[in-house]
Symmetry: C2
Subunit: 500 residues, 2 copies
Amino acid sequence: MAEEEALRKQADTVRRLKQEKASPEEITKQVSKLLEMKSAMHPEEGKHKFVLKTPKGTRDYNPKQMAIREKVFSIITQCFKRHGAETIDTPVFELKETLTGKYGEDSKLIYDLKDQGGELLSLRYDLTVPFARYLAMNKITNIKRYHIAKVYRRDNPAMTKGRYREFYQCDFDIAGHYDIMIPDAECLKIVHEILSALQIGDFLIKVNDRRILDGVFAVCGVPDSKFRTICSTVDKLDKMAWEDVKNEMVGEKGLAAEIADHIGEYVRLNGGLSLIEHLLQDPKLSQNKLAREGLEEVKQLFKYLDLFGISDKISFDLSLARGLDYYTGVIYEAILQEPNDHMEESVGVGSVAGGGRYDGLVGMFDPKGRKVPCVGVSIGIERIFSIMEQKIEASEEKIRTTETQVLVASAQKKLLEERLKLVSELWDSGIKAEILYKKNPKLLSQLQYCEETGIPLVAILGEQELKDGVVKLRDVVTREEVDICRGKLVEEIKMRTYIL
Amino acid sequence: MAEEEALRKQADTVRRLKQEKASPEEITKQVSKLLEMKSAMHPEEGKHKFVLKTPKGTRDYNPKQMAIREKVFSIITQCFKRHGAETIDTPVFELKETLTGKYGEDSKLIYDLKDQGGELLSLRYDLTVPFARYLAMNKITNIKRYHIAKVYRRDNPAMTKGRYREFYQCDFDIAGHYDIMIPDAECLKIVHEILSALQIGDFLIKVNDRRILDGVFAVCGVPDSKFRTICSTVDKLDKMAWEDVKNEMVGEKGLAAEIADHIGEYVRLNGGLSLIEHLLQDPKLSQNKLAREGLEEVKQLFKYLDLFGISDKISFDLSLARGLDYYTGVIYEAILQEPNDHMEESVGVGSVAGGGRYDGLVGMFDPKGRKVPCVGVSIGIERIFSIMEQKIEASEEKIRTTETQVLVASAQKKLLEERLKLVSELWDSGIKAEILYKKNPKLLSQLQYCEETGIPLVAILGEQELKDGVVKLRDVVTREEVDICRGKLVEEIKMRTYIL
């Protein structure tokens, strides 16, 4: 008891210091003392404490976040369906060997399952490799599919920036032998449609081609064996200054300084059709077969993007390299242009979609190495989701997390059975309805529940209403009440909540 | 070359034997010889062969299966929303300790992740424990939520029976301090609504209460410490004869034979309200406080189920015990009544939904042990999905895997750019449209593509149409063609495909 009294006094001291805006040092000192006294009183507390958290880099979605997530998914799915895509699903884990040798330096980020006897398994790292495995396994040579699912990377999480260890990818891919750049152009059209529909601010889609990059490396004198690793370094140009990128090329990757400088002249170029034309005239680059092929095809791509009316958002950017090993042709990445009003600094600007052509991946799985050319795009939902969340919070827009049309309520006691009968009738007629799970709830609590959760109508039962064969239907916002004949109730509710 | 010739001859021999319907032994012998010759010719083949499969107990969903799955999910989600539920999501893995001590004997089936440095993680085993962890972590004391997601069990898979290692659960739960049996009754109403809407045949919902079972064990003389393990044995009554169940009780679990016999008299009872009344009069059982409480409350439940008009599908069944440890009150399980016409023997009859009350689980996570009473139900989608799949296959009903309304086609060559322009216009107007990714596809291939994939309309462009500012709109089924003014095309397509 004396201890508790001392504790209370110490708590008062802390409170007083805060009110008096005492020095932070003094407050910290007294708070520490308070905490020490507390733990001395309950020495067991904290010892057996259960760690109540989700794993590092993951999170729960609460109902409000789910409502936003479903809105985003709905916009994306509608777009994929508008382009005639089917959908598939694959297991969350694959045989470990399915993922081996597909991700280059990033393979260390793969989550493995424990060997509990049986097969060695890993959580999927993306949806592209499982897609390629699916095509080879089922001998599918052409398909247009989307797949929205979670993928797993043991990366350093930065959750405020939307970087998680468990996150969604929304993938759209076209597999099959088709004419040059037609499916590729459609993928870019899809990115444009989705980012426009989401209304998360201005965006830019950077486009490049692995063949052009490889051509640049070749004419600059990079040895073949270093193409991929130099490509990884170029990919850092969006986050690092050229000087640092050059240092990595020379220091870590062992390139001669003049070769790096030569690369630098190319990879800092960006523009539109005229840059492509210019490079096609470049005395060195135009001599490289691969680069010329890439440039000609990207030129063709730009023509199609023009027909789609989206070239104003596209930039041909030689600094774009993309991390993954499996790309073989055109590559692209969409970035948000500038922080908009709804966006806190913390979210930051960055890539929200990316993809490209990978003509060799399916062949890696086929026993006879048969190739199925593929091109696709992946929408990164987490960053978009963070922005949407902040945008909605800023707008003070109210989000309903349920779709309930009517609450069945009673004005008097002892009407639980009548409420159960009516709500059951409504459910059976397809009306979204609720009751409070109390025998005799107060009318006020029932009305408050509607206001809190956004239910627009209340169907109120009382002795008189039951006698008259009616229900009192109340509009929660206007508070207007009108007696509705029981047989007409369903129709009336449907009519009034039609826009839902 | 000589080797290849020999191989060809041996293949001919096998073929001839098969045609002549030779003895299986002779065929097997010659096939073996053929295979030996083959592997001798290509000694490396098969050695580096990649194992092209999904992990044991898992599967891919192809587009057709996805269409069925989405139909099932839509029926279930609609029902959950009709009852005013919000939705949440949790990570696919939890801290290992979150799952520890929740599943009794089944804990050995939990998938663990490899220790790669950092936290020890396990894949979720169900959605109930993550839900309880979510409630405790966020100090939520009342919520009505649904959660549809995959769970993981390292069980012996029986995929033809719909038993997988990765499978979906569709959970609906009500958490909060409410009046007796009202939320519980709603859970049963939901099972009834969903199984009716799915139209997968007649079903029965068995209901029991852990308190009644514990009361039975007590009056029969089972020691307290053996309640849960005897409960697990009783749960096998749906798959084993009473004699075998009794043997397990006596042999494995060390119960006296007369105690087992005494239990047997109770747990083989099932019926309706009159059985409940009868047991309330049972001289021994009615003396047990727990059993009496359970019986009184189940009686109350049956009254509510009557008001909901669903008691004809409900059976009070003392043999129902449920495997999991965490149930504390009413428990239930829905089974399909009999194999119906659409069902192959292999699918078998069995449980398609189950659940109950678990008032203690959230308290296991709360640092201060505060309890949040919960009741819920889980719909087992895989078995339902197998049945739906077979039903649809039997009916020869055609399932579309895309929603495309129109294919933009051309009758002549060199019209790719015009097709791209038109399809882009349609996309921008919200029409679901496709083109073939060829520069000069034949009209016939374009029409065939529509027939194969069920696209109802073709918008055909030709020199004349472009000159006249029209598009030839063709109905794929009737083959009727009519010229539509370009400005009216979107409207016309929307009108014709409205029912989609």
